[in-house]
Amino acid sequence: MSNANSNFRSLKSFGISGILNEDSIVFYQTLFNSSHLGKISDLLVFNIKNEHFDELRFRSLVNRSVLYFFHSYNKDINSDLLKKGSRPILFECGIDLEKVAIGLNFSKASNFQVEGILDKISSDDLKVELDKINKELDIESDQTVIRYQTQTGVLEIIFILYFNIQVYSDDLKKSELVILNDEESESSPEPREYIHLGDLDFDITLTDKDLSDPSLSVFRVSGSDSVESQEEYRVVSDPSGVEKRGSSQWKVKSLIKSFSSALSDAMKGIVNAGRSKSKLNNKKIEVSHLSEGRSLKINSTDSKKIILDTSLQPIEKESSNLILHEESKVLEKKFEKLDSGSSGDDFVKEIKPGIEKDLESEYGKLLNEIQTGGLEKLMMTLKDKSRVMIREISNPKVEIWMSEIRSRLITERARLAEMTKTLNSSVRIKEIEFRNKVAVLEEEIKRKNVQLAQRNQVLSQNRENLSTLVKNIDKIKESMKNQTDQTNSENSSMKNKYLYAQKMLHVSREENLKLTRKLEEMKVQLNAASSLAQQQSVSSNEYSFLKDQHTRLQRKIEEHKKINIQVMEQLKSLKKEKSRAEVNHSADEMKKKMDSALRMNAMSRDQVEEMRKRIDQLQQKEAKMKAEILKMQNEIKRLVSSEKKRGSDQLK
């Protein structure tokens, strides 16, 4: 990278601020047409203040670049603007200490090919007219930077003119092409200031402040030689011009007043001299100090010098004392009012009685008067007359008188000088005070604005807080209401609970009593049940006895069955024998025995069945009794547990 290019802050951002330094100023303007380019270049040129600035190259570059690119790329700018992708040209011109840059930003036209443009610019074989134009413009400038974004088609061409190209001539890279993707583009760095060309007042910008036209100036009030306090006011015949120039009319008026007062004092002396003829006779009037050239200078060591181009004509020799006396009377009448302390304006009125009361018109007329030389003439005549008097009169008394006049004049002059000093100082002080006041006011305004902004913020915050508080309060109120309701309900519920508990207590107590009674009854029943259980134990003994009997009887039955079987076998055998021999009697006897045995069996069976029934009945009774015992036991347990619970509840 060359030394010149190393000064570029950012190549990857659109806008010429990336090409320029931090202290740069960028002027910009949107161009919809190529008219008024001259004014634009005028405005820019008047803002570029550099010794090495090549105005001709700059103007030609501005005009040609805008014209060529505008008409080449944006022919139909006002129709279908956005569909065609054409937009107005953004024109930027930036200035820093080293260079001036001209930038044109616009969307690419369809026939403009970006890639390879640098080669096209450098080579001689150029086919496209556009490329030729580019080459021409590149030659105009010291350096060219072309930026192009591929996705959006935005194109920017920057032409750079260096104030001192010799510094960079060796290392300068003539042209630079930067093709950007959307991701690569950076934000453009800030210059010192952006100025829209419309904000520059054309009339004020282009007026030359250094013009000096002596024909216009009647009073030139110049400042001191020192640079710091040098101030110059130009007074023109038109009082409105005074205001335009910024000089304070009242200052000049006050100076004229002082001059008029000085004149009046001088004339008083002369009038007094005219009154006393004896003083005037034979005395030389030395008014040499009045005849110092053609100017009456009131010197002051302050910064403001008042130079009045007046002439004091000497008093003519021809005039006798009478003439002088007459003139002195005339002057006396004119200055009578000055004795009473009237202002210079009245003085003006006396000179020209037809003047209107308007101070400004009087002032203008006074100036005219002075300009035309009326006062000068007066002074000249007085001078001449004084010279005549000096020549004619040689009375020592007159000399003394004149010395007195001289001393008076000197004192008056000194007084005038002091007055001017004080005036100047007061004017300065007032100016300083005004400036300080302005600064203070501006600071106060800024502070107040800041305070207002802060207060507004505080107010907004307070309002927000208030709104949140109100909301909270509402919520709290609702919750309080709910709580009161709840408390009320709770109180009522508590009361109800209390009453209910009391009732329950009563009830529980009654139930306890009942249960205790039941317990007692149950206990009685238990005792009864226990007695039954004892009886059951007796019945159980009977049951066991009966069981034994049953088993015995069953054994007997089995024995009898065996016996029966044996008997039956015997019978059979007997029958067989009887059949063989007559055994009816034994059979009958056997039959009887069998019948008795059978009856015995039946009897025993009946007894066994009865015993079984009894056993079943007893078993059922036993089960019932057991169940009743269990019930009683459960009821006892429940009663005990309920009593325990009630006791605990009561404790709670």
Binding site: F14, G15, S17, Y28, Q29, T30, L31, F32, N33, S35, H36, K39, I40, L43, N78, L81, L82, R87, P88, L90, N105, S107, Q149, Q151, T152, V154, D182, S185, S187, S188, E190, E193, Y194, I195, H196, L197, G198, D199, L200, F202, D203, S248, W250, F434, V438, L441, E442, I445, N449, L452, A453, N456
Partner: protein
């Protein structure tokens, strides 16, 4: 300063305090600056028929003809400075000065018609005070009132597409109106003083937003401003936003607007100070 978009009912007793307009005078497809009401005599109620930023079709106007008058809420007062400046800027951009006017010294000879930088200066001086209409010490603007300004400045959007956009989605329709209007307003600050260009840009942005495009690249100045406007509207939800919002986004166009507005503010302050000073000097003279 916020505008109430959803005023649905107003007490009928306040009817005398409302602004009214004959229904005949309302142009179709003109975006309403505030909510529009009609008066139901039977019920003695004022009922809203249109929300702010909405418009009437010819059919709807015909339907409401029997009511004779439309009534507008008190918020319409806030929109007066904006509508007036919109008309003023429009007159500047349509300025056609004849040689006779120049001879009569109505227009300074140094400024010929079509002088773009002079136009931009005058337009800027006309729109800069709108940043202080809210009454706060900070420079802030309400995008809703900006749409009123742009509505007066630019011709109305295509009727068919307006209707389609509204029917598609009311919220995106309103957003598109606000973003497009704010883009035009910001673009005017940088001197884009061509009425045709502004109208085309407004319709371009409006349609892009209504029909789906949510993001704009920030390569060119115009796209930067459209991007900033869309971010602005998304964040503010139709409320006023201060100029400091632009300072956060380090875009070239934003920097230019901020410097221009701040300079204008300093100029107005110094003018105030100088006028006070001249008053003091005059007092000293009189004494």
């Amino acid at each position: 300063m916020n505008i109430d978009l959803d005023l649905k009912k107003v007490q009928s007793g306040l009817i005398n305090n409302l602004y009214s307009s004959k229904i005949e005078d309302i142009p179709p497809f003109f975006l309403m600056p505030v909510s529009v009401f009609v008066y139901l005599q039977a019920n003695e109620k004022l009922v809203s028929v249109k929300r702010a930023l909405d418009f009437f079709t010819p059919y709807e106007l015909n339907k409401f003809k029997s009511f004779k008058y439309f009534y507008f809420s008190d918020d319409i007062k806030k929109s007066f400075p904006f509508s007036q400046s919109g008309l003023k800027v429009k007159s500047f951009l349509n300025l056609k000065v004849s040689i006779q006017d120049i001879k009569k010294k109505k227009i300074s000879e140094s400024h010929f018609p079509g002088d773009s930088y002079f136009l931009s200066q005058q337009i800027f001086r006309g729109i800069a005070p709108l940043w202080l209409e809210s009454g706060s010490s900070c420079l802030e603007i309400n995008p809703f009132l900006v749409s009123v300004f742009v509505n007066e400045l630019c011709p109305s959007l295509e009727e068919e597409k307006l209707v389609m956009a509204r029917e598609r989605d009311v919220r995106s329709f309103e957003k598109a109106i606000l973003i497009s209007s704010l883009s035009i307003f910001l673009v005017l600050h940088l001197g884009y003083c061509n009425l045709k260009f502004l109208a085309d840009l407004r319709s371009f942005v409006f349609y892009e937003i209504v029909f789906g495009k949510s993001s704009f690249d920030s390569t060119s100045e115009i796209n930067e401003l459209i991007y900033l406007s869309s971010v602005w509207i998304e964040n503010s939800e139709f409320n006023s936003v201060q100029l400091s919002f632009l300072k956060k986004h380090k875009k070239k166009s934003a920097q230019k607007i901020i410097s221009r507005l701040e300079k204008e503010r300093v100029i107005t302050l110094t003018k105030l100070v100088s006028s006070d000073r001249s008053m003091e000097i005059q007092k000293a003279k009189n004494v």
